[in-house]
Amino acid sequence: MTPQSFKKTGLALLVLTALALPLILRSPTYLHILIMLYLYAYMTTTWNLVGGFAGVLPLGHSVFVGIGAYTSTVLWLQWGISPWIGMLVGGCLAGFVAYLIGKPTLKMRGAYFALATMAFVEGVRVIVENVDQLGPFKLNGPRGLNIPPLPAGEGSLLAFQFATKEPYYYIILFMLMGVVYLTWRLSRSKLGYSLSAGGEEPEAAEALGVNVAKCKVTAMVLSAFLTALAGTFLAQMTLFIYPKSVLTLDLSFELAFIALIGGRGSLAGPIIGALMLRPVTEFSRIYLSATLPGMHLILLGVILIVVMLYQPRGLSEPLTRLFNRLQDRICSTKTGGAK
């Protein structure tokens, strides 16, 4: 077996397992946890386009989640436009907003960009919490928006609502696979090379013909577009959105935490990070929140600090090494057997 085919087999097995899981795992609770895990892996992967490859620290990605969630929901509630179309509209709107924030701030050093994106979320949240009606759009202030559920047992693809968890599971799984594939393609493209180079040594990259600021803005717009799609998904999953659920700093920080713990700038990092953190968050929320409030946030912080102290590049690096060793062993024993 060659290393190439070993990797391909591994990947195929992984995808097949993910596809087959709902057939084995019948409990909606576990499915829900998996769906949230994929959703966070998805959002972190899109975050990673800016935070990982472009080498800056965006702390305001929840604003794009919020734009996605609110756009599709408002369009559905007020005009009956299918959330699938709303999803795309939200994505474009998020991309446009990202351009507006990114253009002036991405020229600056990381600290400023981090603060600007952070302040932007806070500003947007404060505004949304204070308006019931923004022009023709009903936002309902801090009370948020309820999507009336379809009659029990009914599902509709057009309405992006399903009676069981399985369709949600497959939608987010395909979204995740798509965005991982896109990132993989991007990392091997001119834009990917330019982003990494510009993130590491901006002057050197510029001297090599890279317009660093422009590349970063491009990545930011792309990332915002993709992140907003997750917002629509989240809205359709929970059928209830309010400013503190989708426009919070906590969500922005959690994405950054997952990315750093998994491995910033690596393809597998966001998935590894989500696999690590989501169960911790979900289970401590379920079992500990009554007795030990805020425990899951302490765990999150401690895990982050410990990982950063011992594996500053995240967990994907030692895991890749482990995988390579495994690959070497299996591949060499197979060829050894052939002799």
Partner: protein
């Protein structure tokens, strides 16, 4: 609107704003030297407030006398925090220009500290008792000035002056300034970069401690009390210029004025939105802030 009320609001804004400036002072000092934003700064303020609260509650000391205990305790706390937590990550990330990992780790510290406080002390709001300053006012004509806030203003001015004196006149202060200008060159001159980082972090935290003492008589203590101050401090330091001491104070006063005058014209939540709007305007049009040097960062 009555002019006297406006004047009252202006004075109130300046006094409260100077306290915001004091909180931001510690943040800007740490940024100036380490070039990182300490997201846990607000949590340090929270820790300081609990320390001050417990000291006063158990010893019955006058709140301002607690300063002489709180500031050293917080200095020690910050110094050790940098030594054992921030430094190892700094070392690991030395080749990287933007210390993103360090910034995120300070966020982790924020999460841990705030929620640890929640776990240990519960979500209750605690007000200082005995509180000899409660509701104390000075009357000048028709204008009422809150005594503890006036003291806060005075302590802020003294702290800023003291910090200036320290940075300009003492050996350690000069070493700190040299490191903030060019840490490699300073290292070559025999200044231990890590020692300076520890001290700067310690002083920044001690300033948060001073601010905590100032705030305790007028503010409730609760686990997330640092968060609004944290976010406000970020706005203030960017407004004034990251790393600038006068910028932090002036930025604080500007925010304080907006918050005290604004509610006369709109609901107070909208004044909050104005603060963020102003912040973004500064970022877009004068990113170096009012006092920051353009190439310093």
């Amino acid at each position: 609107m009555d002019l006297i009320f406006l004047l009252q609001d202006v004075i109130n804004g300046i006094l409260m704003g100077s306290i915001y400036g004091l909180v931001a002072l510690g943040l800007t000092l740490v940024f100036g030297v380490l070039k990182i934003i300490n997201f846990a700064h607000g949590s340090f303020l929270m820790v300081g407030m609990y320390v001050a609260y417990w000291i006063v509650a158990y010893t019955g000391l006058h709140p301002y006398l607690a300063l002489f205990l709180v500031a050293p305790i917080m200095y020690f706390f910050g110094y050790q925090m940098q030594q054992w937590l921030i430094r190892p990550i700094f070392v690991a990330e030395r080749d990287v220009r933007e210390p993103i990992t360090v910034i995120i780790v300070t966020t982790g510290v924020w999460y841990v500290l705030d929620n640890l406080a929640l776990l240990l002390f519960g979500p209750d709001y605690r007000a200082l008792s005995p509180n000899p300053l409660k509701g104390e006012m000075i009357e000048i004509g028709e204008i009422l000035i809150s005594t503890p806030k006036l003291f806060g203003f005075i302590i802020t001015v003294l702290t800023a002056a003291g910090l200036y004196w320290f940075l300009l006149k003492t050996r350690m202060g000069r070493a700190i300034r040299a490191t903030s200008l060019d840490r490699d060159a300073a290292s070559l001159m025999g200044i231990s970069q890590w020692k300076i980082f520890n001290v700067a972090f310690g002083i920044g935290t001690a300033i948060a401690g001073i601010a905590a003492v100032v705030l305790v008589p007028v503010y409730n203590v609760y686990p997330t009390v640092g968060v609004p101050f944290d976010v406000k401090s970020f706005v203030i330091v960017v407004l004034g210029g990251l790393g600038s001491i006068p910028g932090a104070l002036l930025g604080g006063v500007i925010i304080g004025l907006i918050e005290s005058i604004g509610p006369n014209f709109m609901t107070s939540t909208w004044t909050e939105a104005i603060v963020y709007g102003l912040f973004l305007l500064v970022l877009f049009f004068k990113p170096s802030g009012l006092f920051g040097q353009k190439y310093d960062w």
